[in-house]
Symmetry: D2
């Protein structure tokens, strides 16, 4: 339930509302509006509460019941897009934010080589996997803590921000068979600016809850990737798990979905349509992953253009200095030149085609 | 197999090649290049023929074996995009071509009202269904021949071209229970400028073959829609049925595909990624249907922008003067104002973002 | 709307009901019950008609409005399963009916060899494709009329019944390039006992309508295969097209559906669950195609057992005397020995596990 | 790589083989054959090792390289089905093993009521969820540790074995907002006989690895459910994660998969075909979940029969004393009477239709 205060409401009036919320055992969340008007979100099972219980308090303008199963992440809850700030970047504002980097960190040389050109292209956020979820137990599982430390060095050197995946709450076993002391999420929290939750963990609800609880204080931004066969409703509810447990800074990240399509042409189907749906339904920012959208390098540029034209708030792109020798995802990694073209195209589109204003709908 | 002649080849040299083709019982197709160089496509099962059989003829530059199961519609067969001309429009050139109109023709008033604003917006091609394939035998099946005649009147009045669907080779039963004299395809051929083959008939191979044979002489353009669960390979082979039976003027039309996605948000998944795949794989022009891409009006604008940004050669859009009272597809039909915004956006994108050059790959 | 007459109703009473139906412009369909009680199905848009309009006629027991979009094929319309009789076989009764034969007729020798063992195994219905819908225009399209004539000879010799596919309303072009005089459906009607409508034509609504009209008089049984990405509702509505146009003898045939599944293991997903759904929802008999259910020979036996255990009314199986050299579908064709095992297993299961009684639900 | 010893091989000969394995840094796994012949599985990346390196040792019969990406769970690794024993039950032998119980434990009364009739029906294994993965953070998340303790009491009283889900490595928050001391997996390990890994965690590879490591000593049986959009290859690799980390007692559990199918008829598509595929490809036992196969009670009986007829080694069924008031999955829970019918049908089928012998293929 959403309570909109009137223009010029007093702190005392708002306190009456908050007391009524607490009296019934509910929790709440206050959004301070740019125009000085507060909006109060009431959380919990409100089926037994009448709107009038809050509407009759003086200073209250109107009371709206949220009809969706996802509450705090919905447009009904907050018509304005929630902007996630990371350093100088603001994800959810007019300007699209680009993140780029290798699928996985393979060595210091590789990371430095890629970081250098990512930085030269003025891309503000570097991606790179230190923990890699792999379909086979016999595949390379990432450099682990060592990789995280390399990422942190790069951050210090170039002033970029970093995004890396937390694959779960387990302890990582290194290539040499050593088990790391802390669990993966704890390590990632220690080192990263944005915590990525991967496709395979989008429905690991216990993990999402723990993630919300552990980042409640610092509110570290979370980049939540859609499961490759998840409905959009389930995706929004996964985000709700994190937000309702205390961390509002969730960035929704779309990618290709699993369909009947022939893998020879497209390993997944780029669900560009979902960008428009999520922008209408949710107050969270929405970015797109053109690399995992189809799985082929030649499609990364057109899918990037399409995503921005459809209204995405940013892109996260896999790039590699030597794609044909990449340890993972080489076929979908773009070169520096291709990355540069994407950046340029992105800016051109947004310049002539302002992002649709979903908040007013 | 593709035979490229040398610059300055003589007609006599070419005749030797053609004689060799005929001597082995094959058919052929000559493409006259803009630079004066001919390319000859040899059709049939060439597994037993060596390249040298043609390469040794003087005047021949090189001989290329086509590796794909789709031959004449592939980029290997003809690196240049085949341009389909309809009146002033050229589908497959730099400028995207827009087609718009109602899902089905409901009455003279409705068709006139819509045609008027479609014409005012300078849209060159009017769509409108006279024969409607319906999931239920009890639903409105279209106005039939009467609808075709109305379309023809509009064409004469406004100078627009028309595209309408041929639902098959059967005879149409009118709402009054009368059976039309000619079959549906024959009627459509008599009246339209572009024959649409709908999603449900993309795998009616006998129909596609008959369509190729019946339009071999006039080469009426065919707008072939992808089946909603068809792979791209099967889509290209369906086009090959028409082209190999004598009509090269096929326009590939993409739309939403059938996935696990929740129908409440998206009735289908807009396969924007397929635009890039088809442009790489095929020499045929590729247009996109943003209306049947997701089934919801609010997504038509963003999907139109995404399709053009991804490189589509045009759009076919459902529009209605009174969407909430439309006899079919009202929920995905845009108003005149929305159609106008789409046109404007389309032009802006193509201006800053030239269509990628697929022929040179 | 369904009108159930009382026990002992008179012809005069029934005539009053029929007159009332005609007076409002509706059509009807009378089912003569085994107990001597008639049930009258009223067809058309009955939204403006009150139940009382018929219920008040003396001799009427009760009036039931059908809630489903599919009417005549629903269990609501007729709680008893409609039994389709072909020679000695009755599809829809307790005993499962088996049909078997090659994917396509390749030569007289091949057909004779297979027919011989199919007959020896006392299988009453022989399948064999004379017209083959092929994904590629360059693939073998079937022996056409010549193949139909061979089938007819086999029928005469062995007293089996035959089922063969009508691929549409087009004319067949033979391997030698000759165009047959009659269209494919007309030829098939001339020769076969059961007309198969294939997966690719399940949504060719004009063809289904024409099929209903052309077989209205003779009521030739139609084996309607589910489209590989068709919902069950659409499948039932496709059957409704044929039944509502005059031919009640439709046999629903399930097969594998198109999913994300890896083709290496299963080319399609055997939708065994749909057997139970269709038996509950529809009064038509339901058979299963274990060959096209997964596309691999090793799965034909287990899928046959599963289908019968789930309540299927029969099976249609591809068999070949020399599977590894078959012109089509060799990988899913079973040998004589495997076919014999399937027959035996089928009988054992039905003996210990009577078919569930769906009519009483 | 698999090394088959000769009949009558000596321990010394075997030791030479093991020494050679260790000399190259590989791990191994010995399967003692019923005929006294050992088979040794060598683990790791063996691409650089020639077969002759082992074949030349005296006492070695033959050396087979495993071609599949899943090694230890494949039929190539061990042609005989690995039997998982739980109390008196042996999953993977001729007799199908049935597990049944409620979706979630709701109260002591509910659990006792259901356990009583499950026990009366001589079902040896009771299922019941104490930790429930829920799509919405606002839904009932299970009774947690309290539920586990109730399950343990029932086990002691009736002598049944129990299977319950470990939803991950997080700590459970109770309905009262208290956080449990141990993480979920640790608690489940303390109390259950079989640990269930649910659909949503099948790709939580870190969790699977930790699970293998934590149960390496006790080798607690793991019931691994297939992800609802997982390929069979990925399913087998998930099992490989557990087995290769030290616990061979994995039971594969199939259920419905996510397809385009209309949820009104089937919430998922029962992948009965996958039973046959997994039995051919893997040496692990395969059971089927008829409740989550389609999501509707009326389909549980036919899907149970189909699964057993296709060769499943057992079933896990949701049952409830009062399905219409169940806190979760009420629509797919069967009553005592229906459960009894399923048991009876299961026995009848297996009696007339012996399980196919996959080991000899």
């Amino acid at each position: 339930m959403i309570i909109h205060m009137k223009k010029g409401f007093t702190p005392e009036q708002e306190q009456v509302v908050l007391d009524r919320i607490k009296a019934r055992g509910f929790d709440y969340h206050i959004i301070h509006g740019a125009t000085g008007i507060d909006v109060i979100g009431v959380l919990g099972d409100l089926s037994s509460v009448e709107e009038s219980y809050f509407a009759e308090v003086s200073g209250v303008d109107k009371v709206v019941r949220i009809s969706k199963s996802y509450k705090m992440v919905s447009r009904e809850f907050s018509p304005r897009t929630h902007v996630v700030k990371i350093g100088e970047s603001a994800i959810g504002e007019e300007e699209p934010v680009i993140m780029a980097g290798p699928c996985s960190i393979e060595s210091r040389e590789q990371l430095e080589s890629i970081s250098k050109y990512v930085h030269e292209l003025t891309i503000p956020i570097l991606r790179g996997g230190a923990y890699k979820p792999r379909t086979s137990p016999y595949s390379f599982q990432g450099m682990g803590l060592e990789g995280l430390k390399m990422l942190a060095e790069i951050r210090d050197r170039y002033g970029v921000k970093i995004v890396t995946e937390a694959t779960g709450l387990h302890r990582h076993v290194t290539e040499e068979g050593k088990i790391e002391d802390k669990n993966v999420l704890e390590n990632v929290i220690d080192y990263t600016d944005i915590i990525q939750v991967g496709t395979r963990n989008m429905k690991s609800y216990g993990f999402l809850q723990e993630l919300g609880l552990l980042t409640k204080a610092k509110k570290t931004p979370i980049l939540l990737k859609r499961g490759d066969a998840s409905t959009l409703k389930d995706f929004l509810l996964a985000a709700e798990y994190i937000v309702s447990n205390g961390n509002p800074n969730v960035i929704l990240c779309l990618r290709g979905i699993r369909t009947f399509e022939d893998a020879k042409f497209q390993r997944a189907t780029a669900d560009i349509g979902a960008i428009a749906v999520l922008k209408r339904e949710s107050n969270l920012p929405v970015i797109f992953d053109p690399s995992h959208s189809t799985g082929y390098r030649d499609s990364v540029y057109p899918m990037s253009m399409a995503a921005i034209a459809a209204g995405a708030d940013g892109l996260i792109i896999e790039t590699h200095n030597d794609p044909s020798n990449a340890l993972c995802d080489g076929e979908q990694s773009v070169t520096k030149e291709q990355l540069s073209m994407i950046l340029e195209g992105t800016r051109k589109i947004r310049k002539v085609l302002p992002r649709p204003d979903y908040s007013s709908k």
